[in-house]
Symmetry: C2
Subunit: 212 residues, 2 copies
Amino acid sequence: MSRYTHLADFDQLAGMLAVASRDLCPVIRRASAALLEVDAEAGRTVRAEVAVARELHDRIDGSVPAVLARRQPVASDLRLIVAGLRMNGDMRRMGALAGHIAGVALARYPEPALPAQVRPTFVAMADAAARLADKAALVLATRDRVDAIQAGLDDDVLDALQRSLFTKLTDDWPYGIPAAVDVAMLGRYYERFADHAVGVARQVAYLVLGSR
Amino acid sequence: MSRYTHLADFDQLAGMLAVASRDLCPVIRRASAALLEVDAEAGRTVRAEVAVARELHDRIDGSVPAVLARRQPVASDLRLIVAGLRMNGDMRRMGALAGHIAGVALARYPEPALPAQVRPTFVAMADAAARLADKAALVLATRDRVDAIQAGLDDDVLDALQRSLFTKLTDDWPYGIPAAVDVAMLGRYYERFADHAVGVARQVAYLVLGSR
């Protein structure tokens, strides 16, 4: 194999990771639309998109041994591959969680899964989760402005929103048990999604800043 | 570096993975004891154990680039390293989830987090989760009898238990909203724990069977 082929392998892996992270941005937004706008079409689209994303995550995982074997990478390339596997695991979960959010919306359709009282909290959660997915994709695609992006990288907003949600799930909650369970699970899905998005971005930041 | 040192690196990584998976078995059992026996001491011990486990998971992740760089492994060794990183990610989540189970028990202490009606379901969940953790540890330590172990490797039991749990969380549920939310989250934690345990064992089975 020529050096050129090796580079192509490597670039392809980096490219697949960038595509995988970028593809998750519309997926989480559409999952939130399915939930917030009670849009079954959006929910079904998310399910299809998540299945496509999963194939890409499988291809990424599957390509790594071959890239390692052919390229025998060292130093920064090697860290990228190790980080890439970790990121891919995070992205796999992000896709699954977006699918779960859409799934709850679809299970309740045509009723809204969200009682009016908690809708504003989920609007804020959806926004924060989508922004974190954007940041993960941006930092992975550009490996640039990592300091600036890293500064705004935290899922504290989601943690705080989830905590405020759980304070509403008391015996005064007027919407019944199934809605309370849905709301608790949805809060958890957004919180986990955000945590994995931050994981992706932090891996890139670590790579870029660590190699300066 | 001598060949001997390289082998030591590699064995050390495999050893750390085996220890990490074995250590999770008492942790999930103790987390279940905290929950089922309303045992705060067990709950606090789990928290400490999870913190120790996390350090080992960090050391495993941290050791991989050096092992790869020094050993330039090929074929089966390389697959083991890639699989090892994935397993380590699974085990990291297993530890966190055991910690969440203990956390719910501690948050409700001295009250039981589980209403009597769902206790039998959680006894079964705890048993199934602990057995899957055992299988993951056994298969990772021995890389033996993989076919036999693989045959019994599924988290369908947990999925079915979780579904039966959710059918109880209707408006007829007599224990109030906070208990319903706890029960839903606990069901989710066990289901996710089992899923990750199966992930670990499947990675090993794939490696062993794939290399025959």
